[in-house]
């Protein structure tokens, strides 16, 4: 048997090599998915093709994938900012919920404001609410040394229950026949669609915010300080970087971006606040951020890919009666294979000599 040994690379893996590793990892996860389909009694080839057709095969499918990619992209951009500093924000889901709540509060309170004032006010409140939800775990972490993974995760449940409390209670639409939802937003509070497509202007928000985050890390002093502190906390203290403040900053930015996603979901997609907007975009965002290695452009690609997976699995469920949980399995497989492939950026396998 050929025995292999892992050795460290002298040079980092180039672009070509990285793409090869990524594609191999994705193929491997699809291969395992196909085997699972086969074991479940579905033709694997048919299953995979239905999955792709359902995700990107028609105009309707493509639009739906992009619609779902918008909140995923913004949440992933947010967690990527925190991950750069090695702060593990698992709370995009809750920050997303708080953003939707903040935007809704403005939309319901001032429905008559003109659009050019109302929408920015909703965005501002969504960012503030989401940012606050991110700031709390950051403060707890730096002052009381709590673990941010646990705190952000637990705060997701608080946020979701708070959203439920509002839509089942004080904000419930009296004309909704008992359904948990707020009244619909006024015309001025809705982010419209681009031309004749089903895609809303949130797509443009994503492009602008993604570019801003890219420039922030590339060209600003604070962006550099976050990158350096994320690489080595001890060096950050050595160089006098304001680590405590950076932790607060990235968590606020992270929460604000997820909050923005919550605003778009409430305003553009459902035009009101209702519990059905909480479908786990904040968790998918973590997978997306990791797949993309925290790079804004790659986050865009990965967001469309995983949003497409969500849409494609619906077709798989309708046409071939494959359980919806299959989508979660593929998502997990992709994450596992791509992360495992990450080994090859710094190491390589060489045959063991005897």
């Amino acid at each position: 048997m050929l025995r292999m040994r892992i050795t460290k690379r002298q040079e980092p893996l180039g672009i070509g090599g990285s793409c090869f590793v990524l594609l191999t990892a994705l193929s491997l996860s699809l291969l395992v998915s196909a085997v699972l389909l086969y074991l479940g009694g579905t033709s694997p080839i048919r299953g995979i093709s239905v999955l792709f057709q359902g995700a990107f095969g028609s105009r309707y499918a493509l639009e739906d994938s992009i619609l779902k990619a918008i909140p995923i992209f913004l949440c992933a951009l947010g967690v990527a900012v925190a991950f750069r500093l090695k702060i593990w924000n698992i709370g995009a889901e809750g920050q997303f919920a708080l953003g939707a709540i903040g935007a809704t509060w403005i939309a319901l309170s001032f429905p008559a404001w003109p659009k050019f004032i109302l929408l920015p006010a909703m965005i501002g409140m969504a960012m503030a609410a989401g940012g606050l939800w991110g700031l709390i775990p950051a403060l707890l972490r730096q002052k009381l040394r709590t673990n941010e993974i646990i705190v952000t995760l637990m705060m997701n449940y608080i946020a979701i229950l708070f959203l439920d409390f509002l839509v089942y209670g004080v904000w419930k639409d009296p004309t909704s026949f008992g359904f948990p939802m707020t009244p619909g937003f006024s015309e001025q509070a809705i982010v419209g669609k681009i031309g004749a497509t089903a895609v809303n202007w949130g797509l443009v928000h994503c492009l602008v915010l993604g570019t801003l985050v890219f420039f922030f890390f590339r060209f600003t002093r604070i962006g550099f300080e976050i990158k350096a502190s994320g690489d080595n906390v001890r060096a950050a203290r050595y160089a006098g970087l304001p680590y405590d403040r950076l932790v607060m900053l990235v968590m606020v930015m992270s929460g604000a971006l997820a909050g923005w996603a919550g605003f778009l979901e409430a305003s553009a997609t459902v035009n009101r606040l209702q519990p059905s907007i909480m479908v786990g975009y904040g968790y998918t965002a973590i997978v997306v951020a990791w797949l993309a290695r925290l790079h804004p452009l790659s986050i865009g690609i990965a967001a469309v890919l995983l949003a497409g997976l969500r849409v494609g699995v619906e077709s798989l469920q309708l046409d071939l009666q494959v359980p919806a949980a299959f989508g979660g399995i593929i998502e997990g497989l992709i994450l596992l294979t791509v992360l495992a492939g990450g080994l090859f950026t710094h190491y390589r396998l060489v045959p063991r000599k005897h």
């Binding site: 060209f219 550099f224 690489d231 080595n232």
Partner: protein
């Protein structure tokens, strides 16, 4: 195997990393029933030689003989099979498992016989005077007990040579005494022991033979019985001959750049010192006597009590709140990889780490301006590879140090704290660093912390000796009488009165 005699012999071992010779022509004999102490400062090559014995590194030249036959230890498995066992500073135990489970881990076989495992472990512990409960979880044990488990693991494999890498660093004095008792029982049963340390008293207490390493070479091998005092060992360890020729032009000391007044903490006791612009103060002493704490406090990594440290005329807190990036304090730490640089960032980003203040316009960081300066420094300091996009982890230790020095000198500091600045550098690079420090002295005060006495003597205007958290004495380098007493001071032997001789 019970009879005394050579178990393993190293002959002419050489090992270099890049241009740095880590081991030069090292020959050692490890005898059964004897304790061989390997003494040397950090970076003297102790770990390299032991890694070679443990099969982790391959020597460039030289041979290893086991019971008279030449062997090639090409892997750790082979070293273990040859009976060589290492007790590392950082224990390699599974903390959720019991003592017995850890000892039997990886020993093969399918079935576990619990009562036999416990019986064997208990018997072995008993035989070597250790009190370990085989059923206890590792996570519940003290550091000393965990070390005993590591030792039991090796004894259970019937290792005939046990290498201890600074074993007392994590132990309380009482636990250290127990360890020495265990070592004596092991040598009595014919095992050979290698004891790596820089604690002189311990070496005197336990060793049969002492080998002293300096700059990769064995400078002395002597029977412990012939050593009369720790001072003798200290002297041989740090060396006295001036191996460097640097010209030191006397400078007129000017204003005070650093003042430490009655600094106290868990390790330091009542440290006082003053450093003026235009002078180099060499702080010598055996590692672990408070140098690290003192340096880290001065450089802002530990918080001192109020009004104990003034830097450039400002109280410590005010200094670190207000200090500009240039014309202030530059710190060249011993730990280049872990503290002075970010391994995952490029050379340019590492250059910006402490100089970023000079390239900021509003919120923006002017990378292109920094690029030009950094390229210039790379050329001036001959840093290889000369590529700003190279990552710090791709640089050798010497090049990384040159990068750190280039960066810190670029800040035109008024106070420089240099910790082991030439450790791991080859002679040519070390000479460059010495000249740089002497040149920088014109504009700044330099606190030079080093384990190399010849370096301190060649560069310093004044010498301070640290022992046990105190500065034992501070004197001008011209004071030959005091200079001659440095080894005694380093070993904690009082030089003014004979009241408190070090006890061991």
């Amino acid at each position: 195997m019970t009879a005394s005699g050579p178990l393993i012999r190293l002959e002419g071992i050489c090992k270099s990393f890049g241009t740095v010779l880590a081991n030069r022509d090292v020959s050692l004999t490890i005898e059964s029933g004897k304790v061989l102490a390997l003494l040397g400062e950090n970076g003297a090559g102790k770990s390299t030689i032991m890694s070679i014995l443990a099969g982790q590194l391959q020597p460039d030249s030289g041979a290893i003989y086991l019971d008279g036959r030449q062997v090639i230890l090409s892997s750790t498995e082979k070293a273990i099979k040859a009976g060589i066992g290492m007790v590392y500073q950082h224990f390699k135990l599974v903390s959720a498992m019991t003592v017995a489970e850890n000892i039997f881990l990886g020993r093969g076989g399918i079935w576990l016989n619990w009562s036999r495992m416990h019986r064997e472990v208990a018997a072995l512990a008993e035989q070597y005077g250790m009190k370990v409960n085989p059923a206890a979880k590792i996570g519940d044990l003290s550091m000393g007990e965990r070390q005993q488990v590591e030792i039991l693991k090796l004894l259970h494999r019937r290792s005939s040579i046990l290498i201890f890498d600074e074993p007392t660093a994590v132990l309380t004095p009482r636990e250290a005494d127990n360890l020495f008792d265990t070592m004596r029982l092991m040598t009595a049963s014919g095992k050979g022991i290698v004891f790596i340390s820089h604690k002189l008293e311990e070496v005197m207490a336990i060793a049969d033979t002492v080998a002293i390493l300096r700059r990769g070479e064995i400078v002395d091998t002597l029977a412990a019985a012939d050593v009369h005092s720790p001072a003798e060992l200290a002297e041989r360890m740090v060396g006295r001959e001036v191996l460097l020729q640097v010209e030191r032009i006397p400078q007129e000391p000017r204003q005070i750049v650093l003042k430490v007044h009655e600094l106290q903490d868990a390790v330091l006791s009542n440290v006082n010192l003053e450093l003026r612009q235009g002078e180099i103060l060499g702080l010598v002493g055996v590692a672990g006597n408070g140098q690290k704490q003192l340096v880290e406090t001065i450089c802002g990594l530990r918080r001192p009590a109020e009004n104990t440290i003034r830097i450039l005329g400002m109280e410590w807190r005010k200094f670190f709140r207000k200090a500009d990036w240039e014309r202030t304090l530059a710190y060249v730490p011993e730990d280049r990889q872990g503290l002075a640089t970010c391994q995952g960032l490029t050379l340019l980003d590492n250059f910006l780490l402490t100089t970023r203040g000079g390239f900021v316009r509003g919120p923006w960081l002017m990378r292109h301006l920094a690029e030009a300066k950094a390229l210039h420094l790379i050329e001036e300091f001959d840093i290889r590879p000369p590529d700003l996009a190279a990552f710090a982890w791709q640089l050798s230790g010497g090049n990384l140090q040159k990068m750190v020095l280039a960066r810190e000198f670029y800040r035109k500091p008024r106070l420089i704290v240099a910790e082991q600045p030439t450790q791991g550098l080859d002679i040519a690079a070390a000479e460059d660093v010495w000249n740089l420090l002497l040149k920088a002295r014109e504009a700044s005060g330099i606190l030079l912390v080093t384990g190399d006495l010849s370096e301190a003597l060649a560069l310093s205007d004044r010498i301070g000796v640290m022992y046990n958290g105190r500065i034992v004495d501070l004197f001008a380098v011209e004071d030959e009488e005091k200079v001659a007493l440095i080894p005694q001071m380093m070993a904690g032997l009082s030089t003014t009165t004979d009241r408190h001789l070090a006890t061991f």
